[in-house]
């Protein structure tokens, strides 16, 4: 006979059995029994954030940088609703996360009790799965299943709503193995269909203009997937591009790397996507920011799509060879088959010559200085890269122009170093994500490349970094505008800057100091190097307020509603007005 434990103790025990080291959370009435159970143990480290939204993003940063699931603990009602943005963000970017929310006692559910909300109802569409636990005897199995679901197949967030009486009531606990879990219908595909893989290899080997398009799936599959990708890339000799989420899977220094694709991708990547004859899509999902105008998307190619999520296949673009499975495993099979059959790629010289003409446009070029004497934002990012890349830093970002500039100008050589909100595009992601990443990688240099508007969305988390002595660096590209919004207003709405000016900004240096951080201001190009050096020299958290050109816009760009071949390379091409059809596509 096993001894009975309280629901709260079962939770802690199950988290221990799952190997959880860090929980990001915030207490409240409906989780007090759990907080009491946390108080009595040492193994799990609880990180007290300043707002539950911060907890969810911190868990994302932890998960994406370590490959382990992030764990969040929040109270009922407002605690749960505050966490929703981060949960939705994790859903869109396929981040493994388990969120425990307190709930009012089961007899009170449905009575509009104090701090009650229908958490399973509200989170249903932004979670991979969710539970309301009414029986403490089922809690253990549910927690283990939640971790299994969050981390397997296409990863995602799982919410466990835990009423207060279930936390207090007792029941036996057993350590379950996955085969005994409640949902027998859940069996994610791992190995891809071999005939389809053969077909894919056959197509690739015959291609005259092959193109490999990778996404976040490769990162999610684990570092091994990036290694086999490199092998396949060598074997096939094909050029490679990636989505925002997949940066780092192939080293940016690889001669076969064409840079990111899509709306702010490189000219060569987008042109090659348009002109290729065989496209191999690996763990990406043909997002609208990637495809541009659909009816003009890569019109001449045979398309192979490898994805673990059957729902991603043929959702937006019809493909010729769908392969459902873990992209790492499928890549292994592809490499094996390629070698076993001793395939040789065709002569790809003509293709690479064409690519060279596109590369020669040098689409990411920027002036190192401008007449106004302002700092060129791309230059600031490049300087930051120069000063830090040898340390293989983890970079997080907020959302906006700075995010796109970081994606374009900060080169990544390995996976799990680039943490950004891609699918949901959540301003306020970067600082808490950096905190989570720093906790998961105590020795790493972690930098949030931020915008002055975005950083204010979760600025309260500076206190969290101070409390846990996390030496995160926040590098604000301060253009005094919601730059990305202003850019669209330039391009689409005749330069009418409706509410896109960042008025009444705080003094970021003094704000940093108020939180016990170091604050640095960089105002002129000649201060860049020293400012960055000072930031790196300080062993605590640092906020850098780097004043950059206010009116700079991010190029190249595929305007909304346009195809890959209609890129704007240079600001002078901007028309400033757009028809309704294009506006509706935004």
């Amino acid at each position: 006979m096993t001894t009975e434990m309280s629901g709260a103790d079962i939770l802690i025990q199950a988290l221990n059995d799952q190997g959880v080291e860090v929980v990001f959370g915030y207490p409240g009435g409906a989780v007090l029994p759990i907080y009491d159970a946390l108080f009595n143990q040492q193994r799990i480290k609880h990180i007290l954030v300043r707002q539950e939204g911060g907890a969810a993003h911190a868990a994302e940063g932890y998960a994406r940088s370590t490959g382990k699931p992030g764990v969040v603990l929040v109270t009922s009602g407002p605690g749960a609703t505050n966490a929703i943005t981060g949960i939705a963000d994790a859903m869109m970017d396929s981040i493994p996360m388990v969120v425990i929310t307190g709930q009012v006692g089961t007899p009170l559910i449905g009575s509009d009790a104090f701090q009650e909300c229908d958490t399973v109802g509200i989170t249903r569409h932004v979670t991979k799965h969710n539970y309301l636990v009414k029986d403490p005897a089922k809690l253990g199995d549910i927690i283990h299943e939640a971790f299994h679901i969050a981390t397997s197949g296409r990863p995602g967030p799982v919410v466990i709503d835990l009423p207060k009486d279930v936390q207090v009531a007792t029941a036996p606990y057993r350590r379950t193995n996955t085969s005994a879990l409640p949902h027998r219908g859940y069996k994610p595909a791992i190995k891809g269909d071999l005939t389809a893989i053969e077909q894919a290899i056959e197509l690739l080997s015959k291609a005259e203009r092959p193109m490999i398009y990778t996404g976040g799936g490769i990162i999610n599959s684990g570092p091994a997937a990036s290694m086999v990708l490199r092998e396949l890339v060598k074997l096939t000799g094909a050029p490679v591009t990636s989505t925002l989420m997949g940066l780092g899977a192939l080293p940016a220094s690889s001669p076969q790397w064409l840079g990111m694709l899509g709306m702010h991708g490189t000219y060569e990547a987008n042109m090659a996507m348009n002109q290729c004859d065989v496209m191999l899509c690996l763990g990406a999902r043909f997002d609208d920011r990637v495809t541009g105008r659909l009816d003009a998307f890569s019109p001449h190619s045979k398309k192979i799509h490898v994805d673990i999520d059957r729902g991603s296949i043929n959702k937006i673009v019809r493909v010729d060879v769908p392969i459902i499975g873990d992209v790492g495993r499928v890549l292994e099979d592809m490499v094996k088959l390629w070698k076993a059959r001793e395939y040789q790629p065709r002569d790809l010289k003509p293709w690479w010559n064409t690519i060279k003409t596109w590369r020669d446009r040098n689409c990411l070029a920027y002036p190192a200085s401008v007449e106004s004497g302002e700092i060129v934002p791309q230059h600031a990012i490049r300087k930051l890269w120069e000063a830090t890349h040898r340390q293989q830093p983890i970079i997080t970002t907020e959302v906006g122009q700075h995010q796109m500039w970081a994606a374009q100008h900060f080169d990544f050589e390995s996976p799990n170093k680039w943490l950004t909100s891609g699918g949901l595009g959540t301003m306020g992601y970067g600082l808490p994500a950096a905190i989570g990443a720093q906790l998961g990688n105590p020795k790493a240099l972690v930098i949030d490349i931020a915008g002055e508007a975005s950083i204010q969305m979760n600025i309260q988390e500076m206190g969290t970094a101070t409390q846990y002595r996390l030496p995160v660096k926040v590098f604000i590209l301060n253009n005094e505008y919601m730059g990305m919004v202003r850019q669209w207003q330039d391009l689409t709405y005749g330069g009418r800057y409706s509410s896109s000016y960042s008025d009444s900004l705080p003094d970021f240096v003094r704000l940093a100091e108020a939180y016990g951080w170091k604050g640095i201001r960089i105002e002129r190009p000649d201060q860049l190097e020293q400012g960055i050096a000072d930031m790196l020299a300080h062993d605590g958290p640092v906020m850098v307020d780097c004043m950059v050109a206010k009116m700079a816009n991010c190029f190249p760009m595929i305007p909304s509603g346009a195809s890959h071949t209609d890129m704007i390379l240079d600001p002078a091409q901007v028309s400033g007005v757009m028809d309704d059809e294009a506006k509706a596509l935004v």
């Binding site: 399973v120 109802g121 249903r124 569409h125 991979k128 799965h129 309301l132 679901i149 409640p182 949902h183 027998r184 219908g185 859940y186 999520d309 059957r310 729902g311 296949i313 043929n314 959702k315 019809r318 309704d580 059809e581 509706a584």
Partner: protein
């Protein structure tokens, strides 16, 4: 600017799911969240231990949308299996309706005559009304209701479609 419409098809799907709280909300919610249509949905548990329910969904959409409906249903953790019966072909589809007709004299006699043709049974009668029970394909029931509309129809309750593949094989 105008929004364009595309050709759609009607498909009957059979979905087996874990019989637990919230499953229906998940399925119905998935349809609304992704903008798919539900024409009819029936659900009941079909196992002795009440562990599995069978849901029959009739949906309309473009072929690409139907393919996505199946894939998106399949992604739900509680869903065991999704079968597109229309895609497979060769299946039986039945629906039951209770139809209340009010009237006197000629109308009553005509109602009974039509009911006979449609093999509808009288399950309740008063001097001024009948309730008919009619089973069959949705089209047959549509037709029956349409006819009754001319002779005193006041109320209809329909079950929605239940469907199963023909032949020896079980899903």
């Amino acid at each position: 600017m105008h929004i364009q419409q595309q050709e759609t098809e009607r498909h009957t799907l059979s979905v087996t799911v874990d019989n637990e709280a919230g499953v229906l909300a998940r399925i119905a919610g998935m349809f609304t969240a992704r903008g798919y249509n539900i024409d009819s949905l029936t659900v009941a548990d079909v196992t002795e231990d009440d562990s599995i329910s069978r849901i029959t969904i009739v949906t309309t959409g473009t072929p690409a949308v139907i393919e996505q409906v199946v894939a998106q249903l399949d992604r739900l953790i509680n869903v065991h299996r999704v079968i597109d019966l229309t895609e497979r072909g060769n299946f039986v589809e039945r629906e039951l309706a209770l139809v209340k007709v009010v009237g006197t004299g000629e109308h009553r006699i005509e109602a009974l005559r039509l009911a006979d043709v449609y093999r509808a049974r009288v399950v309740d009668a008063t001097t001024g009304s009948f309730v008919f029970e009619v089973t069959g394909s949705s089209e047959k029931i549509d037709k029956f209701i349409e006819l009754m509309g001319e002779i005193g129809l006041v109320e209809v309750a329909r079950t929605g479609v239940a469907a199963i593949a023909r032949g020896k094989e079980a899903v």
